[in-house]
Amino acid sequence: MKRRTREAIAGYIFALPIILTVLIFTIYPIFAAFYYSFTDYNPLNARNLETKINPQEALEFHLGVFQTDVSSVDEIKDYFDLLSFIKYDVGVNLDENKEKIVLENFDSEKLLKDFVEGKLNKEMKLSKFMSEYLKSGAKYFKRYIPNFLGLENFKKMLNDQYFRISLFNAFFYTVIVVPVQTFLALVLAVAANSKIKGVKFFKLTFFIPSITSSAAISMIFWMIYSKPGILNRFLGYFGFQPIAWLENPNTALPAIMIMNIWTTAGYFMVTFLAGLQDIPKSIYEAARIDGATPGKIFWKIILPLLKPQILFVATMGTIGCMQVFDQIYFLIKNMRNITISFYIYKNAFEYGNMGYASALSLVLFVIILSLTFIQRKLVKETY
């Protein structure tokens, strides 16, 4: 075998696991989400046809007699109501269209005959049951096909107040948290870059919040922010009345923002400090000899030289903040304070509107993409 062929084979053997997992769990889902966003995909309906039933038991329940007490079809024919049997006793979700198919094509006689003969006493999936007794149109019950809605989901957003609220909150969150944490991280890095002792200690200390899980941090701050909590005690010394920070819709989101800044500022400080240490000391010295004030050194020298780090921190911060979820899930109790990713979760996994949730997630994707793009442009132009 030629070396090139061997290399190609080895390459695929090496890369196949990751290619397959990314294909199945990331690339397929992206296309699926795109498709869902144009439909009314509902997980309960999707699973409906997969549920298993025992047709004999369902029919016994419907008729109110045991199979063993029945000897001919004529005895039970009059008690059998097709639609209510399929809908309530078998449990198939029917819309108008499907009702019509059932009424026109369902072979009730065969079903009742099988019942009398005792052939129905076995577990089967709803899809199989339907295909067995439908003379035609079984394909509509074979597998779940969500209704195609076109752009309906996207139109729905325009009139959805929670979409507006949650998107606004995510923006508000990002607009406050990203600049504050970036600036705080810069200040800390500049302070740590002077000739002080114990830089390592400070770096380690500042970093700890960022390696702690957001769940754990939420729990700790839940206690700190609670009405009898330490924050209210502290503010009480200055004569403030205690407030339930997280229950009050006006303070809940700012409280979480502060928590988020606290979590990430120290982490980004390390990024900036690494950047600062790459700047040669002679530059500051030259500036100082020329009589530049510390403020001028910060704005005119440090900031422009840290441009790549600032871009990185701002981009990472924006991506993280626009998607903020864990803290909101843990600490927000008021629908007025939810963010977009929480609303996506709620729609998909609590309301069962996976189609709408997918449409929302695509909107979030486009927004994050554009924000990153704008930041890149802005940073390039300002310096």
């Binding site: 084979i9 990751i18 869902y36 699973r47 990430t264 998909a348 929302l360």
Partner: protein
């Protein structure tokens, strides 16, 4: 001139020390609460018992045994108690260790193999795959989580370990991390091995892998930490308490024991300690290289 420098130095110290206190204070407070005997209200008489855990100053005295916090003897009783009142806690610990370890193993093996292939080997459609992977990095998890969940439903893997683990066994971020490392890896070593007659596999496992330790360590920490702290995927995919991870467990504590601050803080501290230990033992990778970008996702 000298005075000016001195003043700026003092300001630097004040800023750093203040922020160090701010960084540590919530953890210290959580720890103090976790070693305080339970307080609460007697449901029958309405009588309040126990100490005030929000008191300032917290009246700590460590110069006696047992030390005092909030004016009473400190105790580790709560740490024992949470395993009794929530028997699942040990199971959650185990689940989390399992989840984080298997993901770390999977990512180290598969991302490294992939990273090497993309850095060094020539195979058909390599560039197409590469571009495709790069594009997926920009897509937020909110987009893929819904179809991912539905896939798991289809495979019958909801609320199982494979369902929790398999979708996260590789990561594109890890792939790029490893690829970048191998691109900067000196070719001479591999070439020497090839001249000695070693095949591609032998070269990889005998020469490349042992020399990739720094990158593998970084990837391991990144993956382990991410899995340990992961919340949204366990939230979606697990439904029964046996399958929860620790972050889900905290959520359970929050809904079921929401007035028992001592228990909740003990559970919180307990799940945080392993991360602090890992952090302190690998501090170099964390704070010096700055390479572990985006730990918080």
């Amino acid at each position: 001139m000298r005075r000016k420098i001195k003043i700026s130095l003092i300001i630097s110290y004040i800023v750093l020390i203040t922020y160090a206190v701010v960084s540590l204070f919530p953890f210290i407070w959580a720890f103090l609460v976790s070693v305080t005997p339970l307080n609460g209200t007697n449901p029958v008489t309405g009588e309040k018992f126990g100490v005030d855990i929000m008191k300032w100053p917290p009246e700590i005295n460590i110069f006696r045994f047992p030390p005092k916090v909030f004016g009473v003897d400190a105790t580790f009783e709560n740490y024992k108690k949470i395993f009794e009142v929530v028997p699942y806690y040990s199971r959650w610990f185990l689940n989390t260790v399992l989840y984080a370890s298997i993901l770390t193993l999977g990512n180290v093996l598969l991302d490294t193999l992939g990273g090497y292939a993309f850095a060094r080997l020539k195979f058909p459609f390599k560039n197409i795959w590469f571009t495709l992977f790069l594009a997926t990095m920009m897509v937020p998890f909110q987009v893929t989580m819904i179809p991912q969940y539905n896939l798991m439903v289809k495979f019958g893997l909801v609320n199982t370990y494979p369902g929790l683990i398999i979708p996260k066994l590789t990561s594109v971020f890890g792939l790029f991390l490893m690829r970048q490392f191998f691109l900067n890896f000196p070719r001479e070593l591999e070439e020497a091995a090839v001249i000695d007659g070693a095949g591609i596999f032998k070269t990889f496992f005998k020469i490349v892998l042992p020399n990739a330790k720094p990158a593998i360590t970084a990837l391991s920490i990144y993956t382990f930490l991410g899995a340990w702290n992961d919340f949204i995927w366990p939230l979606i995919i697990t439904s029964s308490k046996e399958m929860y991870t620790l972050t889900m467990g905290l959520n359970f504590f929050k809904t079921s024991y929401y007035t028992f601050w001592q228990y909740m803080m003990a559970a919180t501290i307990l799940m945080t300690i392993p991360m602090i230990i890992i952090f302190l033992s690998f501090q170099k990778q964390f704070v010096e290289t700055g390479k572990l970008s985006a730990v918080k996702g």
